[in-house]
């Protein structure tokens, strides 16, 4: 179990860790800001029928990509393998895997049933302990959902090795951008967390901004200029039916997010040049939570629904504040150099991610909910709009390049600041929001 503890420490990543020699050969050395990823092997998944061949290859490939993509694991290429697994139930020849230093081994098999369903089985082994890590599991689903099944296997593997919930079987809603900078066209789009399976949820006739998932992932709030004025809409992800939020005419609304109940919406409403924070419940009328002449926007509920973090320039510059869900007792929490915006409460409740602007650079950072232990994770010409992975370990955000040809893209980074990656998508993309784990 040493392997578990060490990875858990690495994941926590909040302190410069110095983990030195471990007992036995299971050893991950973590030095300040650098982790030696755990070597693992995904043995080719066995195809139990001819039709299963391509699924077996693709599923094994996606599992490898998922795990390696975390930065916590390093995939050993199959060209290095000594053993060929020819039977899913045969004993594992541990020495062959030890010889190539595969500390974790994933084996699997895939079948396509007569009614065109995919059956995916997998096992996970701690090679140097010569023991399975948890029970073998089987997933059954539509063949069209083969990537989701690969993600579910990956979530299991990640979870068994790290002791944390995974985040692979999840999606991202974002804004796909096309066209030149002064005539950008924008559409709400949906993709797997890794950028695959892009679908569009709106057309490009109106500017759309900042889509946000409901806690169950089946609905999305976003801002659209459909009427010529910014207004909040709720969209059903499956039916693509949408409805406008019921707010006073002649007001502009934006920056919506769901409360944890999936019913309450917290948002900004701008009237007469003054922007304040409101909540709206189904069938109700907007409840005003802030009453200052300054800008109050970008609200985000705590996971227990008791508090709201938001940004305000009431002090003269953009800073972060936390107030009770009824608007009472606002307290400033950001006091560092520069300006702070777009706060988002982590799904674990422990941290707040934010955008920071300082000395001409933009950063994504995290801090405790009382503002302490601020850490900046990124820096660039323009980074903004963090969103949390369902397990609170990874942050996705928008990074935009400078200049006339500048364009935004989605990036992700660990909360330790490691493993910065571009989410592979065709074309420009902005304003990501990560879904919860899919059911």
């Amino acid at each position: 179990m040493t392997i578990l503890r060490i990875i858990a420490l690495a994941l926590a990543g909040l302190l410069p860790l110095q983990v030195q020699a471990q007992d036995g050969p299971l050893r991950i050395e973590i030095t300040e800001g650098v982790i030696e990823p755990l070597p693992f092997a995904v043995s080719p998944f066995l195809a139990e029928s001819g039709a299963a061949g391509s699924y077996a290859r693709d599923i094994a490939r996606v599992i490898g990509q998922n795990l390696a993509g975390t930065g916590l694991f390093r995939e050993i290429p199959s060209s290095a393998f000594i053993s060929q697994v020819s039977n899913f139930d045969a004993p594992v020849p541990y020495p062959d895997w030890k010889a190539i230093n595969a500390q974790a081994l994933v084996t699997g098999s895939v079948n396509v049933t007569s009614d065109n369903r995919l059956v995916v089985k997998f096992r996970l082994f701690d090679v140097f302990s010569e023991a399975p890590l948890g029970e073998g599991l089987q997933f059954v689903g539509e063949t069209a959902n083969w990537r989701r099944m690969a993600h579910k296997v990956s979530d299991q593997v990640y979870s068994r090795i790290t002791g944390e919930t995974g985040y692979f079987d999840s999606r991202v809603v974002f804004v796909q951008e096309t066209g030149p900078k002064d005539a950008r066209q924008k559409r709400v789009a949906l993709a797997d967390y890794d950028g695959a399976n892009v679908q569009f949820l709106t057309d490009d006739r109106s500017i759309v901004l900042a889509p946000r998932f409901s806690p169950t992932g089946d609905r999305v709030l976003y801002t659209s200029y459909e009427t010529g004025f910014p207004a909040i809409y709720e969209l059903n992800v499956n039916s693509v039916q949408r409805r406008k939020l019921d707010v006073p005419a002649e007001s502009m609304t934006f920056a919506p997010r769901y409360g944890p109940d999936g019913q309450t919406v917290v948002f900004s409403l701008s009237q007469g040049g003054n922007t304040d924070i409101y909540t709206l419940r189904p069938g109700g009328s907007p409840q005003r939570l802030t009453r200052t002449p300054s800008i109050e926007t970008a609200p985000s509920f705590s996971p227990d629904g008791s508090r709201i973090v938001f940004e305000s320039d009431r002090s003269g510059t953009q800073q972060l504040y936390v107030m009770n869900a009824d608007g009472s007792n606002p307290q400033r929490i950001s006091f560092g150099q520069g300006r702070y915006g777009t706060p988002v409460w982590s799904p674990r409740g422990d941290l707040i991610a934010f955008t920071k602007q300082n000395e001409g650079r933009f950063h994504i950072g995290v801090m405790r909910t009382d503002g302490s232990e601020e850490r900046l994770l990124t820096a660039s010409f323009l980074d903004e709009g963090p969103t949390w992975s369902p397990n609170g370990r990874v942050i996705m955000f928008t990074r935009e390049t400078a200049g006339a040809a500048g364009a935004p893209a989605l990036f992700s980074v660990d909360i330790s600041g490691r493993n910065l990656r571009r989410v592979p998508l065709d074309g420009a993309a902005s304003d990501p929001a990560w879904s919860p784990l899919l059911p």
């Binding site: 009427t227 010529g228 002649e250 900004s268 970008a298 953009q318 777009t342 955008t355």
Partner: protein, 168 residues
């Protein structure tokens, strides 16, 4: 002319959008009446949209992260107010914009502030409040696209976009 063309396109799209929303009819769309034939009118016609855009000046610029009207902006807006009062059939949508050096939500709020400060000034000069409406675009619609102050200063703007008249 480039600015003018863009403003017209923006107005045209705003007008189209307004057609489908209740209560926004007087802010565009329709036919007949001054200003509805957008782009019509010669710059030499002091009642024309072209004259308003190019001779009066349809936009004012702002200092970074402010919505305060500079003396130059106030001068332009006095001209806009005189034009609006002399041409009482026009309505206007005031668009507030921000440069790209800010977060999306804050820039929306900042654009709303800028549009409102223009609206308040025009009203203070005698333009009826019900002829004016504001909209913020935040950093969504830059008119200049470089990433230097030369462009940012042009993008931190409020543009008064004339529309079809009341009751048209």
């Amino acid at each position: 002319m480039r600015h003018a063309t863009k403003a017209l396109l923006l107005l045209a799209s705003a007008a189209l959008a307004a057609c489908s929303s209740t209560g926004a009819d007087r802010f565009g769309g329709g036919s007949g009446g001054p200003g509805s034939g957008i782009g019509s009118g010669s710059i030499s016609d002091p009642t024309s949209v072209a004259y308003f855009q190019q001779t009066v000046g349809d936009r004012v610029l702002f200092v970074v992260d402010t919505s305060t009207l500079t003396p130059a902006a106030q001068e332009t807006l006095r001209g806009q107010a005189q034009f609006m009062m002399a041409n009482a059939d026009y309505t206007a949508i005031i668009e507030g914009h921000a440069d790209e050096r800010g977060t999306r939500e804050y820039n929306l709020a900042l654009g709303a502030r800028r549009a409102a400060s223009v609206q308040e000034f025009l009203v203070s000069q005698g333009v009826a409040a019900n002829r004016l409406r504001t909209v913020t675009y935040g950093k969504e619609r830059p008119i200049e696209i470089c990433s230097t102050e030369a462009c940012y200063s042009q993008n931190r703007r409020a543009v008064t976009v004339l529309g079809a008249g009341l009751g048209s």
